[in-house]
Amino acid sequence: MKAWKLLGLALVGYSLYAGLMFEVPRLFILNETIRNLYFHVPMWFTMIALLSGSLVYSLRFLRSGDAGKAVDMSRDRQAKNFAEVAMVFALLGLLTGMIWAKATWGAYWTADPKLNGTAVTLLIYAAYFVLRGSVEDPEKRAQLAAVYNVFAFVMMIVFIGILPRMTDSLHPGNGGNPAFGNYDLDNGMRMVFYPAVIGWILIGWWIATLRVRLAQLQDRFLK
């Protein structure tokens, strides 16, 4: 067992304790739900980290075929499984966000640019898996998927990172709303929030590598 895996577990375990027990700022409307910051936001950070990993593996796949060499299919396997686990975290982020929105905004879903942006992102990556499923030839599939993955990643950044910041949005961190900028996030909360983010990213990365290893074994034994 590698140390970073246990570190991930320790950090998230700490955030479960500290996230419930430590003092938090007393704010209207938010009340105790402010603690959701420790559990909802890390889902999205983990999704972005895993999608970044997936993008890098896709690029490395595309480069592996340079100068007439055989393409490295293990990179394709990594890209696919990292994107898959990223979508699980996106779904968890979406569901936890909806509960939080119901309690503070009064509705599970609003036509907010941040919310619609995340929905579009999920659809963009759904198309990635549809594309993979529609090509029979493994090498051709890997190549098309890798190119599409680059496009999907850029669209994800545009839809959840850029567009919501350019218009009005209810979501913190967008449309002039406070989130975790220098003057917004309480210092006590930082001591829980950052460890939670790092911990969840490590655990998400771990799950993704488990999926990769499983797929590797399947390819080895089932062929």
């Binding site: 375990g13 007393r26 799950i207 290893r213 074994l217």
Partner: protein
């Protein structure tokens, strides 16, 4: 002189919940769930390592 309208009204927090100590029950439940998940992950990891060493 007091200016009641200038005083910050108190914000509703889970004070009673904490003073009764019942929050530890929630912590214990969360702890068990998380420990179970962690053990399961470690178990899968070991299983895969074992399979990978097979020829």
């Amino acid at each position: 002189m007091k200016f009641p309208f200038l005083q910050t009204p108190s914000v509703e927090m889970a004070e009673l919940f904490r003073s009764e100590g019942k929050i530890f029950v929630v912590l214990a439940v969360l702890g068990i769930v998380f420990a179970g998940m962690a053990a399961y992950l470690i178990w899968i990891d070991r299983r895969l390592t074992k399979l990978e060493s097979k020829k």
